[in-house]
Symmetry: C2
Subunit: 426 residues, 2 copies
C-alpha cells in the first residue's frame, strides 16, 4: 500500500495497538453501561455530524482520489474510493438506520428455574472490542462503527492507505457526534498509523481484541484468516451454485439464473456455477439465454453440446469465484449428483435449487451444508438488508458463532445470570 | 507422556489425522441425516454395549493402572484413571442420559417473511467434526462421544497415553452399540496413535476439524489454545471471586463462602478469591470460619488484621487458581472497588455476590463481564448438570459462540433456509 498520507510511525506497532485496544476496552464498558436509547441517540448525532461535515469529508476524499490517480489505482478502486454528496448522504442515512434498529443487548435468550430454586437466565451482552480491517471503501468506517456501537461494542478501525484522509474526516465527524451524545471517544478509534505491522498486531491481540472482521478482497481476507489468533468473522469465497432440477419451471429457472449471475457480478452472493439436471428439458435454451444475456459460459462436455458458444471448462473452473460475467456450467444426473458436486466444490456461502418438486427442494435445503440454502430464489438475495436484518457487518462462512449475513445479533454474545436465595451445592 | 502401550506409528501423523477427519466428515453427513430418534436409540445401544463390556473394560483399565504405577503416576492421576464397576456403570448411565436429552438439531431459531414473499428460517444444524483432546480420565471417551453424536456431530477422540487401553476398550464397546444402531463406525473414532504430533495435526486441521475441545489440566488447555488454528472451546482458569457485600446476611455469606471454596477444591467452579466489603460487620468471623473449616487464607493487610492465622498474600495470589484449600482474601471499600478488582483479576469464569441489597446485586450481575455471574449462590453450581443442561462438554470462558457450561446447543451451529416463489433481486 503506497500512501502520500502523513502517518504516525510509532517505534512499536504492537505497543500502539495494545494502547488503543486497552483504551477501547475501558470505553466499551462505559458504552455498555449506557441505556440503549442513549446509544441510539448518540448514533443519530453522529449521522447529523457526518452530514454537517460534508464539505470536509469531500475535500479529504478529493485528496485521496488525487493520490490514488497519481499512484495508478485502477478505475474500479477509484470508484470504490470516491464519495460525492449523494454517497455521503447515504452513509449518514445508514448510520441513522442502524441507530433505529432494535438493540439485541439485554435480550433474555432463555430463562429457567431449577428444582433447588436457582433462577438462570442467559442474556445477550456485547462481544467487547471488535477490530475491523478494510480496504478502500470509506463507507466501512461509518457502517462498521455504527453497528458496533449499536450493540455496545468498541470498534478499532484500520482502513486502507488509499482512503486515509477520507477515513480520518469521517471518523472525526462520527466522533464529534458520538461524544456529544455521551459516548467515550475511545469507543470508536481509527488506528492512526498506516504501518502494515499494525494489522499484524491487531490479528494477534488475543485478550485485547475479541473479534476481527475483515472487509475487502480475497487477498485481505486470506491474510487475515492465515495470520489471526483472534477469532475472525468472514467469508473467503462465494462459490455459489444454482441447481436447476428436472422439475424446475423453465421461465422461473431462466429468470433466477440470469439474476443470480448477472444482476451484479462482483458481489459475494452471485452465482458462479450452474448445475442443470440432465432431465430438465429446456437446458439448451437456458444456457443460450445466459450467453445471450452477456455471460461467458465455461461448460463440461454435455454443456458444450448445447450451444456452440460454450467454452470448455478446466478442472479449476469448478473451484473459481469469477466475480465477473462468467459462469461454470455442468449437467448432472439427478439430485444426488448435484448434492455431491456442491459438497465437493461449494464454499458454503449460498447454494440454491430451482424446482417445483417440494420433496426435492426440502431435501436440498436439509442436506446442503452451506450458511445459506435457497429454494426458488436468486442467490443475490444473500444480504443482511434483504434478510430483514437492517444491515450487515459481513457474511460469515465459518461454522461457529454466526453464519450467513451477520448484523447486530452476531455482534453480541451472552452471559449466564444466576439468582439464588443462599443455595450451596450438596 | 510415557506409555508402555503398543502404538501405531505412522510415518506422517498429519496424514493419519487427515484420513481420520475426512472419514469423520463423511460419517457425520450420514449421522446428520438420521432421524433424531435413531441417533438416540443408537446411543442407548452404545450404553448397553458398554455395560456388557464391563469385564473387558476393567481388564484394560487394570493394564493402564499397572503401567501407571510402574511409571510413577501420582495418586491423584491414578484415581482419575481408575475404573470399577460402579464408575463404569455411571459412565454407561451418562451415555443413556445424553441419549434422552432433547435434540437441538432442526430447532427453528427464528422465522420471518420479507415483504417480497421470501420466507427465511434459521435452523440449528450440527457443527460437524469435533476434536476432543483429553488426559487420563477414560470417562471422557464416552461422555464426549455421546454428546457429539446426540447433536449429529462426528467425534475424533485423542485420549492420554495413560488411559490408552481403557479408552480403546470403551471405544470398541461404544462403536459396537452405535454401529448396531445404524451409526457409521467413523462417526466416533479414537486416534490410534499416541504420537504427540497427532495432537499438533488435530490443532491445525482447519477445514477438516471444526472445533477442538480440550479436557484436562491447565498445561493441556494452554498448549491447545496456543497452538490451535481450529476454533477451541475451553476455559484456561477458574479464578472465581465471591464478593460479600456490606448488606450480606452473615449466615448466608458464611455458608456460601465455605461451600464455594471447600465443597470440592479441585473443580473449576471453586472460589479462589474472597472479597469482603469493609462495611460488612462480620468480616472477622467470616475469615475465621473459613480458616476453621480447613482453608489457608492469604490476605491483604486488612485481612491479616482480622485473624492471626492469615498469611500475607503476594502480588501473584490475586491471579492464582489454587484448586486447593487455599483462598486469597481482600477487604474492599464498596461495590465499585469490588467490581474493579474483579475486572482486573477474574478469568471470566464464575463470579458471585452475596447481598440482601437488590440494587447492588443487579448492578453486579449486569456489570461483571464473566461467563457466569451469580447472586446469593455458591460458585460450585457452575456446571451443566446443575444448570439443567443434562450434561456438559465443557465450560467456556471465550466470548464467541458459547459461554459458561456448554452442552448440546453449543455443539450446534445454524444455517439459513430461504424459501421463495421465483423471486429475483431488483
Amino acid at each position: 500500500m503506497n500512501s502520500t498520507a502523513p502517518s504516525l510511525s510509532p517505534a512499536d506497532p504492537a505497543a500502539l495497538v495494545t494502547g488503543l485496544a486497552e483504551a477501547a476496552r475501558l470505553a466499551q464498558r462505559q458504552l455498555a453501561a449506557m441505556p440503549s436509547e442513549a446509544r441510539a441517540a448518540a448514533l443519530h448525532r453522529a449521522a447529523d455530524a457526518l452530514r454537517g461535515a460534508t464539505a470536509n469529508v469531500l475535500a479529504a476524499n478529493a485528496r485521496d482520489l488525487a493520490a490514488g490517480k497519481a499512484n495508478g489505482l485502477s478505475a474500479a478502486m477509484l470508484d470504490r474510493l470516491a464519495l460525492d454528496e449523494a454517497r455521503l448522504s447515504g452513509i449518514a442515512d445508514a448510520v441513522a438506520a442502524v441507530a433505529d434498529l432494535p438493540d439485541p443487548v439485554g435480550e433474555v435468550i432463555d430463562s429457567r428455574e431449577q428444582p433447588n430454586g436457582l433462577k438462570l437466565q442467559r442474556i445477550r451482552v456485547p462481544i467487547g472490542v471488535i477490530g475491523i480491517i478494510y480496504e478502500s471503501r470509506p463507507n466501512v468506517t461509518a457502517d462498521a462503527a455504527a453497528l458496533c456501537v449499536r450493540a455496545g461494542n468498541a470498534a478499532l478501525l484500520r482502513g486502507g492507505s488509499e482512503a486515509v484522509h477520507s477515513n480520518r474526516a469521517i471518523h472525526a465527524a462520527l466522533t464529534e457526534g458520538l461524544v456529544a451524545g455521551g459516548v467515550p471517544a475511545e469507543a470508536v478509534q481509527l488506528v492512526p498509523s498506516q504501518d502494515r505491522a499494525c494489522v499484524g498486531a491487531m490479528l494477534t491481540a488475543s485478550g485485547l481484541i475479541d473479534m476481527i472482521v475483515p472487509r475487502g478482497g480475497k487477498s485481505l481476507v486470506a491474510r487475515v484468516q492465515a495470520d489471526a489468533r483472534v477469532p475472525v468473522l468472514a467469508h473467503l469465497d462465494g462459490i455459489n451454485h444454482t441447481y436447476v432440477h428436472a422439475a424446475a419451471g423453465p421461465a422461473m429457472a431462466e429468470a433466477i439464473v440470469i439474476n443470480a449471475k448477472l444482476r451484479r457480478t462482483g458481489i459475494c452472493g452471485s452465482m458462479e456455477t450452474l448445475l442443470i439436471d440432465s432431465a430438465f428439458p429446456q437446458a439448451a435454451s437456458l444456457v443460450s439465454a445466459l450467453i445471450d444475456a452477456g455471460c461467458e459460459v465455461r461448460g463440461d462436455g454435455r454443456t458444450q453440446a448445447l450451444d456452440r458458444r460454450v467454452v470448455p471448462a478446466g478442472a479449476d473452473d469448478w473451484d473459481t469465484e469469477y466475480l465477473d460475467a462468467i459462469a461454470s456450467v455442468a449437467i448432472v444426473d439427478g439430485l444426488d449428483e448435484a448434492l455431491a458436486h456442491i459438497t465437493r466444490h461449494s464454499s458454503a456461502h449460498t447454494d440454491a435449487i430451482v424446482t417445483d418438486d417440494h420433496a426435492a427442494a426440502e431435501r436440498f435445503l436439509s442436506e446442503v451444508d452451506s450458511a445459506i440454502v435457497m429454494h426458488n430464489a436468486s442467490s443475490q438475495f444473500a444480504d443482511g438488508g434483504e434478510f430483514g436484518l437492517g444491515a450487515e457487518i459481513g457474511i460469515a462462512t465459518g461454522r461457529l458463532h454466526a453464519r450467513g449475513p451477520v448484523a447486530l445479533e452476531g455482534l453480541t454474545t451472552y452471559k449466564w445470570q444466576v439468582r439464588g436465595g443462599g443455595q450451596t451445592r450438596p
